[in-house]
Point group: C2
Chain length 373, copies 2
């Protein structure tokens, strides 16, 4: 059977990979940072500006869209692409993370999860079938298995139970998938325990997913444990499928996971930081509220090619942030996205040129020279 | 002496005029709606998007910029154009309106006004000289005399005193202007009293300003009184200078003042409405919070050529507004500005084609057919 999807690892440098993912709505060059558009909008960034900052794929959230405005309305638009005005590739997560992280009271069994909606407290049940059905209605290009996210800070018994359910639910998703124009991604759990990660990866590999995600990291475990777990999975996951690390937006963390064979990642961090007046720069993170920027006529990041850095001074940005002007948040949101997207593009070039190690070391050193002057 | 400014009334239809204003930063075709960028940003609209919706001149506020971030910082940037990243024409108001409308306790005498800053309550004095000096530092193309805005709802004695001070202060501004690359506009006051309006206009005409503004209207008086006053001034102000009506953003009101020889107007209404989920359309004003839009797959205004109406449905806009997503406010702000700018462009074409009366009647009739279905 032909598929509209294809992933090709075009170049490698050490374990870092430069790849290309074909989807029905366009190609994604990897490594790739994917902006988060939880409620079918990346906060403060229009689809037009999203394209302008170089985004190639956007994430939307099954849990939130199920409740508001409902998957039926999105389907009536012909799917998320038309609904949110983003013609490029879209990925939806399964809602699993929200079911476990947002609900005060939940009842989990082998079939699914009963929980209270954050919108009105009403009781609902998500099963793997339902999570997939909603994603089929939403119509993203890439859809995720319904999983149980078990942080490495839980007990081994709890993580083991979550791994077992994640495998069981992944099988249900695999078997109940109806649409063949959506790429279904299996999610590996297991906290930071080697045995459980090996078991989860083995279970999912047996189900032969076309791509794999690494879940349950960046949720409170120590950094070294996180990286060891990614290294372990890099050795276990097939080379010819793309790997998606769920939830990492720190520039140095991104460099670390790229070095360990990860192709795709997402995080709310760039837009969330922007709403607090903070910005990534090549020389570290700055908070524009700081008085030392009051008369600073320099661009936010002299290395950046984005509209914000080509047009405005730090003093103007600080004025906007301090006066709570919406434009401040817009400009910083776009800038922070542009920063991570440029970082990934530069990483890709370095991989192709077989110098990823040097590139990452230089970028890290520069980033750690955080400006204080 | 040559001047970088020129206003030409290129066509007329009845009393409506199609004109062209040349400034050091570009031309303005009139009639023209001018978006308001109080604190050196039009709320929620980047300079790039402002150009995209067709804005040709932007207003910024002397009072607010004097306090935050201070005129010196703007001057250090080389002026407002560089500071706010808007390369086109800019107008600054004088701060007079804010000194009178924002201050709880103020002391007015013939030399100026002592008042408390809205930012920190500290006491300040604005004189006509200072208001002009600040505007010279800010560096807009068009600057306004410091005036006393006296609504028609005040007593005749109060309005008469305000007219006298406005004349006195206009003379001070005229005589103390240093920069010749700024167009200084005289402001006619006088409430809705014919005698006082005639007096104010006569006083200002004697000072031979290169352009005139109509102040003190749209501040609580009855609509018919407002229009009668504009009609009166249309007969008094010179045909070869442009006329600026301060503070009107209602589409039908705009049609009315264009018919009475007004060339330029401004208002916060389009962006303020957007922040409450309201939108202008050719068939009246809609509030997107309304449940009847929940499944409405039509564009906001089928007659509109803007990005919002070409891309998104009412149902999506309602979702954004209800979820308090920033993009909802951005899209409605841009749309509302585009609506008024398109209205002015259509009015200009109708004037040139000598059919402004029919155009305005059709537009009014359509606007009043407010959708309810």
């Amino acid at each position: 059977m032909t598929t509209p999807f294809a992933f090709t690892a075009e170049a490698a440098c050490g374990r870092a990979r430069a790849g290309r993912l074909r989807t029905p709505h366009g190609e994604v060059e990897t490594p790739c940072f994917m902006p988060v558009g939880t409620k079918a909008t990346v906060k403060g960034v229009s689809p037009e500006r999203l394209a302008a900052v170089g985004a190639s794929v956007v994430l939307a959230n099954t849990y939130h869209l199920y409740f508001r405005p409902g998957a039926g309305l999105v389907q009536a638009h012909g799917g998320l692409h038309r609904f949110m005005g983003w013609p490029g590739p879209i990925l939806t997560d399964s809602g699993g993370f929200q079911v476990f992280s947002l609900a005060d009271t939940r009842v989990v069994d082998d079939d699914g999860v009963e929980f209270a909606s954050v919108y009105d407290g009403s009781r609902h049940v998500f099963t793997p079938e339902l999570a997939l059905r909603i994603q089929e209605d939403l119509g993203a290009d890439i859809v995720m298995c319904f999983d149980e996210c078990a942080p490495g800070t839980l007990s081994l018994a709890e993580i083991e139970a979550a791994v077992a359910r994640t495998t069981r639910w992944a099988r249900v998703c695999r078997e109940s998938q109806m649409r063949r124009d959506q790429l279904l991604v299996g999610i590996v759990q297991g906290g930071v325990d080697e045995k459980l990660r090996r078991r989860s990866a083995g279970d999912l590999l047996a189900l032969d997913f076309p791509a794999y995600a690494i879940g349950g990291l960046s949720v409170g475990e120590r950094g070294a444990e996180m990286l060891d777990t990614v290294t372990l999975l890099d050795g276990l996951l097939p080379e010819d499928r793309f790997r998606y690390f769920m939830g990492i937006g720190d520039p140095l963390g991104i460099l670390d996971v790229i070095a360990r064979g990860v192709d795709l990642f997402d995080c709310v961090l760039p837009t969330r930081l922007a709403r607090t007046g903070s910005a990534f720069t090549s020389r570290g993170r700055l908070n524009l509220r700081n008085a030392r920027f009051a008369e600073d006529l320099r661009p936010l990041d002299a290395d950046c090619d984005g509209l914000c850095c080509r047009t405005f001074t730090r003093a103007y940005l600080r004025h906007l942030v301090n006066q709570k002007e919406i434009l401040g948040m817009l400009l910083l949101s776009e800038h922070n996205l542009r920063f991570l997207i440029r970082l990934c593009a530069a990483a890709r070039r370095a991989i192709v040129n077989d110098r990823y190690g040097e590139f990452a070391a230089e970028a890290r050193e520069k980033y750690l020279q955080t400006e204080t002057g």
